[in-house]
């Protein structure tokens, strides 16, 4: 297995160096970056599967001369599961990128982009493999920096530079909190190796554990995009090239989920009071609901998808939070179920979100437009992209029988099983979280009905859309692969569940695979087959059979189909795209019903004809929703730090002598402290 690991890392290194060496030959650069990435990710898939199924974790380490730092890696089932997720997504994205790179001809250096792409995948793989605190921080920082460089690919645009800066600041604030977490863990174990974190010499005092919990939640939450730390996502994801957005949203934010599980269930040994889980659950519910609500109001397709990442991280946290609550009451089976649901949603979200971002990239490639109100009618012009996007949309809306449905269903079950908890408060709170999840699910449905309906159906809404053409084959293959994963993970959950069970077993201390897979694996039955069961294979067969029945009935009663095509009735005049419903119009009722959340400001200016006020010459409509978090949380913080910096400027005189004095004073102070 180690050999496979070296192949994987070696391929990434080749992928980083090769495009840079071939900087004179732009025509082969995208292939030079893509091929090693395909090899590496394929190796990663095998490595992930082997890592999950092997009984003993694989370790390797390289001692360095720097104190406390060893380049140690450890492949246990949890790490292997995330490698599998990264590699499955990475494989499809690498194939897609080969064709997509043409979009950047003359706009960005393809060689650098290709090298960074491989570096990004490599750093994410190392993050989940790292087995030493300092090494983890190094690769974590590497991942953040590489992704920052990728975000600012189109740095000639001011908004891209702003997005990059915003992302850079947020991710570093996060890293600061992660360092604090590790320092707390280091405090009692005296070493930075994860092994020492797991088995500290003396157990951490309760206060320190709570502190570590909160610091990790903030630190990794900033990367995952938990509300209110989500504000960077809708800036950074649209700014990055689409295949990078697919990786950032599909996989990178998941490394934070990995780290949270690692810290809570591995380092802190899964022993915590109930309110930890409740805090996670609360944040999950808030993120899920607010994420989808803000997504509904977005008409820039990539910003919309970015908000949906916030939503889905919320759903993942609902599963994990429920698992943590059960864990603290020693309901081992249910804890395992919650974790399993969260992890299943993690891999599912990686698949459909990457697919949707790649779809958005294809639309950009074909039309060069961002706003869905400029698309329209693309299902005819781009039939493949359309079908793949539809599969992604159905999956993210959690509709049966796709993968999103299965994992959301599992999250629902773990929330429903709360009736086994001893306190009435939690018994009530978890079903309310389930109701919030239901609301989130339907709003996501509305959002993707809007996104697909406005972008792909009816008449083209702009000349760009009218002349759009289907994307090249490699891009279609990349999307097709992810669409296939979405369907397989939904229709055949019995493939994934035994693997997930192996991942969850060491964390929750119990294996539930045998119980969850009822009826020889054809049905899922969370813990108790009496309580609930689901069989997506049966449901998909049923759906197909009944659709055939509908067709059969139509033929029996109606005979052979003779359909006539005629234009849509436009009340006597020819139908034009301007008569179609727009995305803004579509979400207007939702905006109005939830106006307490959105705080919308609407401005309508009408210019009337000179002759009569009954005829309008021009109307100008504008609406904004209040960016609550930025206005009430971030702006005051930024203002505070700017003022603070202004005050502190007094000590920065710019004179070398003064600085030497400062250094001298500090030295004396430290010496005094040492004595």
């Amino acid at each position: 297995m180690l050999n496979l690991l070296w192949i994987l890392l070696g391929s990434y290194v080749v992928g980083i160096l090769l495009p840079l060496c071939l900087s004179r030959r732009p025509e082969v650069q995208s292939l030079a970056a893509g091929t090693p990435a395909v090899v590496a990710t394929s190796a990663g898939i095998v490595l992930g599967l082997l890592g999950i199924t092997s009984s003993e974790p694989v370790t390797a380490s390289l001692v360095s001369t720097i104190p406390l730092l060893t380049f140690a890696i450890r492949l246990d089932p949890l790490a292997a599961f995330f490698i599998l997720t990264i590699s499955l997504t990475g494989l499809a994205v690498s194939i897609y990128a080969i064709g997509y790179m043409r979009h950047f001809d003359g706009r960005a250096p393809v060689s650098v982009l290709g090298a960074l792409f491989n570096g990004f995948l490599c750093s994410m793989t190392l993050v989940v493999l790292a087995d030493n605190g300092i090494f983890f921080l190094i690769v974590w920082e590497l991942m953040s920096l590489v992704s920052y460089f990728l975000v600012v690919t189109e740095h000639e645009k001011a908004e891209v530079r702003y997005a990059g800066l915003f992302y850079l600041i947020m991710t570093h604030v996060g890293t600061a909190f992660i360092i604090l977490t590790f320092l707390i863990l280091f405090y009692d174990s005296g070493a930075f190796s994860f092994e020492a974190f797991r088995h500290p010499k003396q157990p951490l005092p309760e206060g320190m554990r709570t502190f570590a919990f909160l610091m990790a939640l903030i630190g990794f939450g900033a990367k995952a995009g938990i509300v209110p730390l989500h504000v960077w996502l809708p800036y950074a994801h649209p700014a990055a090239p689409s295949h990078i957005s697919a990786l950032m949203s599909g996989v990178m934010i998941k490394t934070a989920i990995y780290a949270l599980i690692r810290v809570y269930f591995d380092f802190l040994d899964g022993q915590f009071p109930w309110w930890w889980g409740f805090v996670v659950l609360l944040l999950g519910a808030t993120s899920a609901l607010l994420g989808v609500m803000y997504a509904l109001m977005e008409h820039d397709l990539k910003r919309l998808l970015a908000f949906h990442s916030v939503e889905n991280i919320g759903i993942i946290l609902l599963g994990i939070g429920a698992g943590m609550i059960f864990q603290s009451y020693w309901l081992k089976e249910l804890a395992a179920l919650g974790l399993l649901a969260g992890l299943y949603h993690t891999i599912n979200h990686a698949m459909f979100k990457a697919l949707l971002f790649l779809g958005a990239g294809s639309l950009l490639y074909a039309t060069h437009a961002h706003n869905i109100d400029e698309y329209g009618g693309l299902l005819r012009r781009m039939p493949w992209t359309g079908v793949f996007f539809l599969i992604g949309a159905v999956s993210i809306s959690a509709l049966p029988p796709t993968n999103g449905f299965v994992s959301e269903w599992l999250v629902f079950q773990s929330l429903f099983l709360s009736y086994q908890l001893p306190t009435v408060f939690l018994k009530l709170m978890l079903p309310i979280a389930a109701a919030i999840l239901a609301l989130t699910g339907v709003l996501a449905l509305a959002c993707f009905a809007k996104a697909f309906g406005i972008a792909f159906l009816a008449l083209p809404r702009s000349t760009l859309a009218r002349h759009a053409e289907e994307v090249p084959a490699s891009m279609r293959v990349g999307m097709g692969l992810l669409a296939a994963f979405c369907v397989v993970l939904g229709v055949a959950p019995m493939v994934m569940l035994p693997l997930l069970d192996r991942v969850v077993t060491p964390l929750a201390g119990i294996s539930i695979g045998g119980k969850v897979l009822a009826m020889d694996g054809w049905a899922l039955a969370p813990v108790n087959v009496e309580f609930s069961s689901l069989s997506t294979p049966a449901l998909s067969l049923l759906l197909m059979a009944l659709a055939l029945l509908g067709w059969g009935l139509a033929v029996t009663f109606g005979g052979r189909l003779r359909k006539r095509r005629y234009k849509t009735w436009g009340c006597g005049i020819n139908l034009t795209p301007r008569m179609e419903y727009t995305a803004t119009g579509f979400v207007q009722p939702i905006k109005r019903v939830f106006s307490t959340v959105y705080q919308p400001t609407v401005k309508l200016e009408t210019e009337f004809l000179h002759e009569s006020r009954y005829f309008a010459k021009r109307r100008h409509f504008e609406f904004h929703i209040e960016p609550i978090f930025e206005k009430y949380l971030y702006d005051p913080l930024v203002a505070f730090f700017t003022t603070l910096a202004d005050r502190l400027r007094v000590i920065q005189a710019g004179s070398l002598h003064l600085y030497l004095t400062y250094i001298f004073a500090t030295l004396i102070l430290l010496l005094l402290l040492a004595v």
Partner: protein, 316 residues
Amino acid sequence: MLQAIILVIAQVTVLLAVSPFLAGLIRKVKARLQLRRGASVFQPYADLAKLFRKQPVISTTASWVFTATPYIVFASTISAGLLVPTFISQTPMNFAGNIIALVYLLALGTFFLILAGLDAGSAFGGMGSSREAIVASLTEPAMILSIFAIALTNGSTNLSTIVHKTALLEGSLTDPSPHLMAFAALFIVTLAETGRVPVDNPATHLELTMIHEAMVLEYSGRYLALLEWAAGLKLAVFLSLIANVFAPWGIATTPAPAAMMIGVLVYLAKVAALAVVIGIIECMFAKLRLFRVTDLLGVAFILGLLGLLFFYILRS
């Protein structure tokens, strides 16, 4: 296995057969209450037969999504119907899904209907789709909460298990108040989901008021027939749900022929009674403005929540 297949076919047949009758019955009740004679209760069957024979006209603007939608909606609605017990308490498809699966199967149909509404490119379709989106998003949380209160009494979220246990009086019901609240919530949800007054008016074609009818406005011929049938089926599914979850009396608990015969008759009587109630409600109330519907559905949500709260308080 053979028995299961026969039962599935029987249930599909019962649902298909009973759904146009329910629509006809509601229309008849409304007509009588308005002192009209009204069409025969079997008129919807004739309507369907005629629609199937008519040549469909399809918009040149529409894509394959438009023609695929009727089949998807039809299939997803019957699949949902197979998860709900009708005349026998132990449905063979019980293992395939619980209440969440039911809700999401219906959502699958809603999703494609919304898309089809947008596909023809006319503003009416978009209007219907947009309204359907908001109504659907407000009903589902209420529906899940209301069913959950009942699910807890029986220790199951699988509808068939709930009904079977209630029918055999195995549930630990001590006080009916959680069930009454859940019933009220589910009834409101039914009115909203099946597009009845006061949420939507199936008898209108006025752009200011229609929701469901606006989405299917561009359909004709066999496609419209399938969608009309599916709408009737959805009503039948919800009425079966209410009838059997809250009043499982008379339902067949074993697959014995005699019990099943009685089961079918009792089932017909129960859903017909509920249809009459809906007809009366449609006569007594005016349609609400779209933005007042939220209040009604908010009430349903609160009722579901109260049902849950009462359940735990009465238990402890």
